[in-house]
């Protein structure tokens, strides 16, 4: 049985309780903080209404019941990343509860609660976690809004957990509340073999790592059970390098955070009107979108699902489809772009900053006009995405236009062949030298524009 506690940073402009930017202009540590997110004596938090709206959107999109009255609490524990040594979070009554996400199999994963809280500062161990004798604290992260999404232990396998997270990130991308490029998604993963104690893997970053951590942990626990050994209740950490989990501390009792109400914030009351307005503002989510794309653009259901897997992809698709055709856009987005992202081990959204949409539109136009082939399109796209190359320049520099590679070169070769019957005869008789001679002539004829390999291929074809 697997249950997840996911922490997602919300992509608001300012922090949860102050007006500091969540994305400062410089990387300079501690440049984006104030008396509030530093927890200076005398400062007071004021709730960022945008963050509340975002959290409500997520809770509604996850089919949660919205608690019209809710409040914040202080969760107290001493740690150097905590500016006040307590975190402002929600305890008794979260914003949303009793929601679910439906997997493709139709199975519902229940969501116990969705609540809003502040991110602690970032700790920097300059020479590694274990070998550093000190650590530095960067408060730029302190106070960034987080939502915590807690599931019931409803997932039966690491694969289901992964699908849950895929669905969750899909929803987040549609709601446009998560910054896939800079934001982080972390999860505490609880896993147990039925009838045994559970172990918690703390603070795993990213969907892939969650899946890997759970795979390792499931194997470890099943092995222990098979050997008749006991599984101890503990907190474990995930080692991203070895893809393994290791014990951090035994956990005999629940941690005691001594929750009390946050007296600096008032209890909030949402009106039905406000909740309805947010519900109405929710965009078309992926399942509806997939159906619409298949119908509207005549692409296969499978491709429509892939494309509507993220808002970013589907927006990209719709934009390209308008500029060229649905077929071309589909080929590029679901065929080319997704596989490049996959190869790079990245979410499609993370690749967004590397795309120059207008340049790509030009590239797709060439394909649409049948001036380049699929292979050229792919190569140009790879060069663009991985090396930042202008795809048009790439096509030109590598002479990937169809006319240059087949039409014109073919004419030149024919001309050279008919003018040199002896060399052709020698070549047919097996004289390699005459091949080089003919290639040289053709190169001269094309004024160096044609590619020797291409010429060679055509000569060989014609002299078979």
């Amino acid at each position: 049985m697997i249950g997840l506690e996911c922490h997602v940073q919300l992509d608001t402009y300012s922090k949860l309780f102050c007006s500091c930017p969540t994305k400062p202009e410089t990387e300079e540590p501690n440049s984006a903080c104030c008396e509030i997110c530093l927890g200076m004596p005398g400062s007071k938090p004021v709730l960022n209404k945008k963050a509340l709206d975002y959290a409500l959107k997520v809770a509604l999109a996850l089919n949660c019941k919205i608690n019209e009255k809710f409040f914040f609490s202080r969760k107290t524990y001493f740690y150097p990343d905590m500016s006040k040594n307590f975190q402002i979070t929600q305890y008794e009554i979260p914003i949303g509860s009793q929601g679910f996400i439906e997997l493709s199999s139709g199975k519902k994963i229940c969501i116990r609660r969705v609540h809003l809280e502040e991110d602690p500062a970032a700790l920097v161990h300059e020479s590694g976690l274990l070998s550093s004798s000190y650590c530095l604290v960067n408060y730029n992260r302190s106070g960034i809004p987080l939502i915590e999404i807690v599931t019931e232990p409803d997932m039966a396998s690491p694969q289901e957990a992964r699908e849950f997270l895929d669905q969750l990130t899909m929803i987040l991308s549609y709601l446009d509340v998560f910054d896939f490029e800079n934001g982080t998604l972390k999860a505490d993963c609880n896993l147990s073999v039925v009838g045994n104690e559970r172990a918690e893997i703390k603070n795993v970053t990213g969907k892939r790592n969650v899946e890997k951590a759970l795979e390792f942990e499931a194997k470890r626990q099943l092995e222990l059970v098979k050997q008749g050994k006991q599984i101890v209740r503990e907190t474990r950490g995930f080692d991203e390098k070895n893809l393994s989990t290791k014990s951090l501390r035994k956990k005999e009792t629940e941690e005691d955070y001594g929750y009390i109400f946050e007296g600096d914030l008032v209890a909030f009351e949402l009106t039905k009107k406000k909740i309805d307005a947010i519900r109405k503002s929710l965009p078309e989510l992926h399942s509806d979108k997939a159906k619409r794309l298949a119908k509207e653009f005549g692409i296969s259901e499978y491709d429509a699902k892939v494309i509507s897997g993220s808002k970013f992809l589907s927006d990209l698709f719709e934009e390209f489809a308008k500029a060229s055709s649905a077929k071309t856009a589909n080929f590029f987005v679901s065929g080319v772009f997704v596989s490049i992202a996959h190869y790079e081990n990245k979410e499609p959204e993370e690749m967004a900053p590397r795309l120059n949409v207008s340049q790509l539109k030009e590239l797709l136009a060439l394909f649409e006009q049948n001036r380049i082939n699929e292979k050229a399109l792919k190569e140009a796209a790879i060069a663009h995405i991985t090396k930042g190359k202008n795809p048009l320049d790439f096509i030109k520099e590598n002479c990937l236009f169809k006319e240059a590679s087949s039409g014109e070169v073919e004419k030149i070769v024919e001309k050279v062949l008919s003018a040199n019957p002896k060399a052709v005869a020698d070549l047919k008789a097996g004289n390699e030298k005459s091949l080089n001679f003919l290639v040289g002539l053709a190169m001269r004829e094309s004024k160096g524009k044609a590619e020797p390999r291409e010429i060679k291929r055509i000569i060989e074809e014609k002299t078979k």
Partner: protein
């Protein structure tokens, strides 16, 4: 000689008849000469003189505005003043110079106030006599008898207000009675507003759901004027109300229904104190008020335990942030962060602060949380409801502010913590309910002042002003 009232002084100062720089110099000298009275934790001489010069320039430019124009104002140490060491009476905040002004300070400055310094208090407000001082701090001495306490926790504010032979008001703070108590012991007017009427932004917290910034002055009018200028909505404090107080000067108790809280005139109250309070009540009756006794059995029995549980639970979280990392007292870096935090906290918190951290943490731990913290929160609702019922029948409730006159320091030393907490019997109920109240002098016993406390319903500060003015005039 009677000192000028705040409004008279401000009007005079605006004409240029008072040299504000000279006046401020004179006052600072007096404060420094009275150093052994321990009214101040720090004197903001540079800031005060700078402000005085700025105000002089304003007069020259014909831009002299503000209801506190040139008025010397002291500020309780727990309220942040930009660039002035603000320690809330604790060694652990040594070297904390806030980068911002508390909203009340900003408002007072905007009205032309001259900030003269930070007044002494119990460490973080944890006390009734200003004797629970932080390490290295001294308790303020009562200006009427230096062997006696000023009361607490705003002891320094009350002390300097009573001591001053010049126009002056003080911004004080009350969590469970910290304005009324010292006002009573020093014989000045102490105004505690409805919770939320005055912004807490910039207040170094004791217990967030109970803390209220208020005012002290020699007279009801002085304290009311200061309260008026610092009140009002503040978007930096989420609990601040969308209300502003403005007093109309009026002294009348005619037709006022006044409830005498029976429980606060009986057992545990010094008979002399009781007698003096009753004499004041009779004066109100003469002025046309209708007097009747009322019983508040729940408040009499449960207000103190509920208050101390909530206050300690909240303060134990507020004090968590002090660990020698970002500001305040530091120690040599060594050991793990846990060892370091413990060292800083062991070496720099006073005894009462440590007691409250331990008790407060205990009260909110799982297993005890339901029995203590949550139960106290529920009790609080019932206590508030008892008051609400009472205010259906009465305009004002009255009781002696403190059960005794200002005790001598050696007497305080003999009290156990529980006996000390019990001294707040009469002030805690209005405070836990967030109700506005005022303490003014009602007379003297053994040459020491006896205070009487008036409480009104939420946002009914004007009623307090009217009734308290009647008592003041009859003095």
């Amino acid at each position: 000689m009677k000192t000028q009232s705040v409004s008279e002084f401000a009007a005079q100062a605006k004409t240029g008849n008072i040299d504000l720089e000279e006046n401020t110099h004179k006052i600072l000298d007096k404060i420094l000469k009275a150093e052994n009275c321990n009214f101040f934790n720090s004197v903001s001489k540079d800031l005060a003189l700078h402000q005085a010069r700025e105000l002089k320039a304003k007069i020259k430019a014909g831009k002299q505005v503000g209801r506190l124009f040139g008025v010397p104002v002291s500020v309780k140490d727990c309220i942040c003043v930009k660039g002035v060491e603000s320690r809330a009476g604790s060694k652990i905040l040594e070297g904390y110079f806030p980068t911002f002004d508390a909203t009340v300070v900003l408002k007072a400055k905007a009205e032309g106030a001259i900030i003269i310094g930070k007044t002494s208090q119990d460490e973080f407000g944890f006390g009734t006599f200003s004797t629970n001082t932080g390490l290295g701090f001294k308790a303020p001495r009562n200006p009427l008898d230096s062997e006696r306490s000023c009361g607490g926790s705003s002891g320094g504010s009350a002390g300097i207000t009573a001591f001053a032979d010049f126009t002056h008001v003080s911004i004080a703070e009350s969590t469970g009675g910290s304005i009324a108590c010292p006002a009573s012991f020093c014989g000045v007017a102490g105004f505690t507003p409805t919770y939320g009427l005055v912004s807490r932004f910039g207040l170094i917290d004791y217990a967030n759901s109970l803390d209220k910034i208020g005012s002290m002055g020699k007279t009801v009018a002085d304290s009311a004027l200061l309260l008026e200028t610092i009140s009002g909505h503040d978007e930096k404090d989420s609990t601040s109300l969308n209300e502003k107080i403005s007093f109309s000067p009026e002294a009348s108790a005619k037709g006022m229904k006044i409830g005498v809280i029976k429980e606060f005139f009986g057992e545990g109250i010094n008979p002399d104190v009781s007698k003096i309070a009753w004499a004041s009540i009779k004066k109100l009756e003469k002025s046309g008020a209708k007097i009747r006794e009322i019983s508040l059995p729940l408040n009499a029995k449960y207000a103190i335990p509920a208050y101390y549980l909530i206050a300690m639970a909240e303060s134990s979280t507020n004090l968590a942030k002090y660990c020698g990392m970002r500001y305040g007292a530091h120690e040599n870096l060594s050991g793990s962060f846990n060892e370091y935090f413990s060292k800083v906290r062991s070496n720099n918190f006073g005894e009462e602060a440590k007691r409250r951290i331990l008790l407060g943490t205990f009260a909110r731990m799982s297993g005890f949380r339901d029995a203590y913290y949550l139960r106290a929160m529920k009790a609080r609702t019932k206590l508030i409801n008892e008051f609400k019922l009472a205010f259906k029948e009465f305009d004002v409730l009255v009781n002696p502010t403190m059960p005794v006159i200002a005790p001598k320091f050696f007497e305080i030393e003999k009290l156990s913590p529980i006996e000390q907490y019990a001294m707040d019997l009469c002030t805690v109920p209005s405070n836990i309910a967030g109700l506005p109240h005022i303490s003014i002098n009602a007379g003297f016993s053994q040459k020491m002042p006896v205070g009487i406390m008036l409480t009104a319903g939420h946002l009914k500060e004007q009623i307090l002003f009217k009734v308290a003015s009647v008592l003041e005039e009859s003095q």
